[in-house]
Symmetry: D2
Subunit: 267 residues, 4 copies
């Protein structure tokens, strides 16, 4: 039997927070003991029209929540400022935090790590909860050691402003760390229409497709004479982040230390 | 029962020509009656080491071949200059030509068409024998009427010099003919690395991937909110052209007129 | 300038109907003059909480709607029974119907066709409004004439009960109509695990993938020595049907006759 | 500067052996010092018409080759029987073997391992030199820990007899080792045409496509609500194995121990 995990959720009315409430609701061994919200002090989750029918008290003061509730885990889906405050308090109360942000400063991270060590309380900070994306980047880095010829194609809806996407650039950086630098393509290659060969990153190429009908997809292709190896991740909605949240909660409960990045929870 | 088609092949020692000999050899209702070559007059195909074991006389003078042989079809896989000479002679002798070239001038094409009409002798001139590529371009043009948002990604080996490929540009032209012109992507879209969005062609984009392991592949993707439609053609070797040659021969034998482009033989 | 099209919508509160209201709202030359609904007689669309903020009267009696409103087109997204009643009345009132159903009987279709002819009033009946799916099936049928070797892979979410999908079977039927029947694969091919080669349909194969993360995708692949041609359609939500509805409305306004199936509106 | 590696090749006239000769010829730091062949004793490689123009003596007696030549590495591409004999001798002479076979018995493997340990001579035995395939299987196993919903689609030419392919079954086994067993798909799912859902393996599915135009391709797809992760490997010819041979040679030269399987050379 899996033991029940008692959870405080901070940020229940945000887009991610609302999904997290649904996650808790449908996961048998997850139990919501309370929420931290900047409004609705003293009400119950079920009193808020847009939220699921869960009976758990809402606190506007984090410290009260940690004092009064018997929680194992804090899921924080607020913003860097509020999130840092909540996370800090949680560690002091031996409640293990799972925090979804890339916004903490180096100094804040160092403080949280020290606090985690001192209190022997596990903590997971995850800039990206999409487990599929995390694996795609990891596999790409592993493959690049043996297949230095690589190109990235990312495809998004046509309302996206930046090209290439943040995930594509992150993937490129991770590939660069291990890839033997070389200029790909024929040395005398030429573009008869400018831009055909895409964006150059350390000698390899990134292509950005923008079409209605796509949400977010990326394929990383490695080539060698006679073979290609392709890793493709496609995500459709923020719901795809919730398996990452669930995974992090199930891991943190067993941990006494600090982990940054979901990839470091995966063997 | 399918009736036997008697064939003269011009250019038997070229790469395409040698494949065509193999095609004739393994096709029951194809019969090689002779070859036109610039060498080896008077020898038989089977006397030439690199060629299949077919017993058919070789002529260096085209006119002699047409005078002496009883042929239904000429397959010409030489070059524009020789090919024009052979094709012209074939029509005069009521032998139906299947010619694989994009090198004839407008004037030459007009002459051949007139000659075909006068002699009521069918002729097929095909710049591209890859039936899959021809269908890919045709389907792309049909889809573009209803799905104006489109991007082309072509993938080739890394020894290719030009980007985009000739097939990609041809496809783009065919799309442009029917597509309602519009500038795709967000108006304020910006490239954080130059070239990420690919080559622009009449408001839509073409991306060229160059990696060892690929031979020749193209995907044309159409997007609309909530759906994508993608047409992908992948070809591996010149053998893929032979089904187009076979198709053209089987069509021309029933024809009394002039057709340019394999797509015009397909309903 | 595009002329405004005045529209009556039947079934505004259904899933498709609500999407259709949004379509009308954001399309400049579409104008909602009224709705037919089985409830809310006399109210306006904007009075119903779940519906867009459009001011148009609701009728529970179709005949009143047609008598009182000056409409060009009826969009009917109800059910076969109600839909037939509405469509019949529309034709009598010279209002052109666009009907999304596959549920009419042969007899009903014949009656509607006659009525359309007599009144010289265009009508479009569409069992499938997904234009991408319609094109995928059409291209598959075209390709099968020249590429008799084909397999279908369809991929859906894992809550789907039937395999293969209805679209896959429809596609297979359309391919069968034109394909030269042959048993594909090696004659001595054997399955070491039963079912590996998929479902057989007239000598070719259909494979059904069921995984969370997919919504609805189908790829139809044609193979020939040295090349493959693949047509892939992916749809994400019922929103993808709305471009088909819009297309049908824009076509029917120019028509005086009866058309069954969106594919017959596409050249 | 990379130091030159002196190589003995066993089996130079086989398909793989001939490719290996070409590999040695074009790799700057590889030097062929001799070959072991069952014919042509005393001749040089360049004397054999079908082989590259390399000047290196041929031996029919392996022991003579190891006695007379100063070699760092043996590449053995013969068969299990001859290969075992050669490999055993190589280890005795402190020449590091790279052997491409899956045909050694457990007993033979144990003996070779002991000999390698005693002589502190590295050895690599590789049933599969296709690095891309090895990575595909490894990534699939890694992903299956976090994504238990998976299906495998493998695509081969239509002359292949067995379905599923050996690689697909091997991949399925590796997934099974780590995957939490569960029956995928809806419990009440039903096949309206038998076989649609493919071959079942421990609750997940494998699909085998057989079409001309494919050589060897496999895609392993993992699904979770809202996202999919797909790993695709495509290989075209035996040339694709040579990068694996090169990699193994470059690794073995640094090794004093026994490694079975290319995957165990990759971090």
């Amino acid at each position: 039997m899996t033991e029940t995990i008692n959870i405080i959720l901070a940020g229940p009315r945000g887009k991610m927070g609302t999904e997290a409430l649904k996650l808790i609701e449908r996961t048998d061994h997850f139990n919501l003991v309370g929420c931290i919200d900047r409004k609705h002090n003293g009400l119950s989750v079920k009193d808020i029209e847009s939220l699921p029918n869960l009976d758990a008290p809402i606190y506007t003061e984090s410290s009260e929540a940690f004092d009064e509730l018997n929680a194992d885990v804090l899921i924080d889906l607020t913003n860097p400022e509020v999130g840092y405050h909540n996370t800090h308090l949680a560690l002091l109360h031996h409640v293990r935090p799972v925090v979804g942000t890339s916004g903490f400063s180096e100094e804040q991270l160092t403080t949280l790590k020290q606090l985690s060590d001192e209190n022997q309380t596990g903590i997971v900070i995850a800039p990206n909860f999409a487990m599929g994306a995390v694996l795609m980047m990891r596999f790409s880095q592993m493959a690049a050691k043996y297949f230095p010829n690589v190109e990235i194609i990312e495809k998004h809806h046509d309302q996206k402003l930046d090209a290439p996407s943040g995930t594509a650039v992150k993937t490129a950086q991770m590939i660069q760390e291990v890839r033997q630098t070389e200029q790909q393509g024929h040395p005398e290659e030429k573009e008869t229409i400018e831009g055909a060969r895409g964006a150059e990153y350390d000698g390899f190429r990134i292509h950005s497709v923008r079409l209605p009908g796509y949400i977010a997809e990326q394929e990383v292709t490695f080539g060698q004479t006679g073979q290609t190896l392709k890793i493709t991740h496609s995500s459709m909605d923020r719901y795809s982040f919730m398996s990452g949240v669930q995974f992090a909660v199930e891991q943190v409960i067993e941990m006494d230390d600090y982990v940054y990045g979901l990839e470091n929870l995966m063997e």
